[in-house]
Symmetry: C5
Subunit: 94 residues, 5 copies
């Protein structure tokens, strides 16, 4: 799983019908200091995450192992909202 | 999912028979400013996307969770055409 | 799918028995100008591609959605030979 | 599989219900000298690994081939704790 | 598939029970000149490969399409030992 921060939202009218009503958030990974890095990517939100939240995303077929994403053409899902991380002795919160 | 722009098309006479009639578009990712970056890749278009459109692509087995791509030797599909994105306070349109 | 050029061949006597008779070609990706870049990788050829051909390769489980690669320990297949590409207004042929 | 070191832990109250009771550890890869590199990622721990341990992680659907991770929205699992590695004539231990 | 050289071995006492008796080798990719590059990774060996051998590795679910790796928490397998490669007019042997 990747450790990422919610940085945005997407709006799409034309999409695969299995995505109707799905919330697709934009994320960027964070590093061991809690700083965002890398390019934005998109994951389905099933946990009502919000802007600035730190989350974990599962990728590939792992992104479809939830009731909401099953059999949909998606490859990433937010499967946990992070309270805090302990990395190399440092505590990171949103 | 990756956030990408449609930048081209492919023409192939010799291909796996399951790809007959499929529209294969060339894409490049966009960054948090809406600028394209990275190398071109190819995805199946099931939504009639056109040149310059911003789209989301699902990869891996997720690329085969549509009626059109099911059981085909493909690994990426356009599953949403983007109206607009909100990234870090900025709005991005095609 | 990746856009690549056929740059070589592999010869292996010791291999998984499901690979007997399979043609494994070496490829390198091409960029938006048609120039090869990146490190070589290997895909199963089911379309009789030859040296210098531009092809599309499907990866992961997508590489096993052909009659020839089904259930084999492979992760990439050539599923189209490219006639030409149109990328950002430029036409690219082999 | 990737060769990594356990560098941290995650705490999440809001998560997919299939993750209840799962231990999610933060890892970073090590190189051929045993030095950590790259950005942190998260894997499910099924082997009671601890901080500083060297481990192997399996990714993608491979991360769900254990009794604990089966059918869960995860994409990485610790499937071995390393006693030692022999890389290019050098022995590496935790 | 990736083109790699066997550069080491792993020893693990604590591991998923499906890995008992499995030989896990350390590999590094080679480039178009036959030089190793990149960080080490681990694959299951089903072909009795040895140190210095050039091999092909299949990744993801492709790594579990052998009798030995089926249903195991692994994501890479050595599925061919290379006799020689022909890349861009050059012959590469171990």
């Amino acid at each position: 799983m990747l450790i990422s921060k919610v940085v945005g939202t997407t709006v799409s009218t034309i999409k695969d019908e299995q995505l109707t009503g799905r919330k697709l958030l934009i994320l960027r990974q964070i590093d061991e200091s809690g700083e965002v890095f890398g390019k934005p990517y998109v994951a389905v939100d099933t946990l009502d995450a919000g802007a600035g939240d730190l989350v974990l995303t599962a990728h590939g077929s792992g992104g479809r192992q939830t009731a909401i994403t099953k059999n949909s053409p998606v490859d990433a899902v937010i499967m946990a909202v992070i309270d805090h991380l302990n990395i190399e002795g440092r505590t990171i919160r949103r």
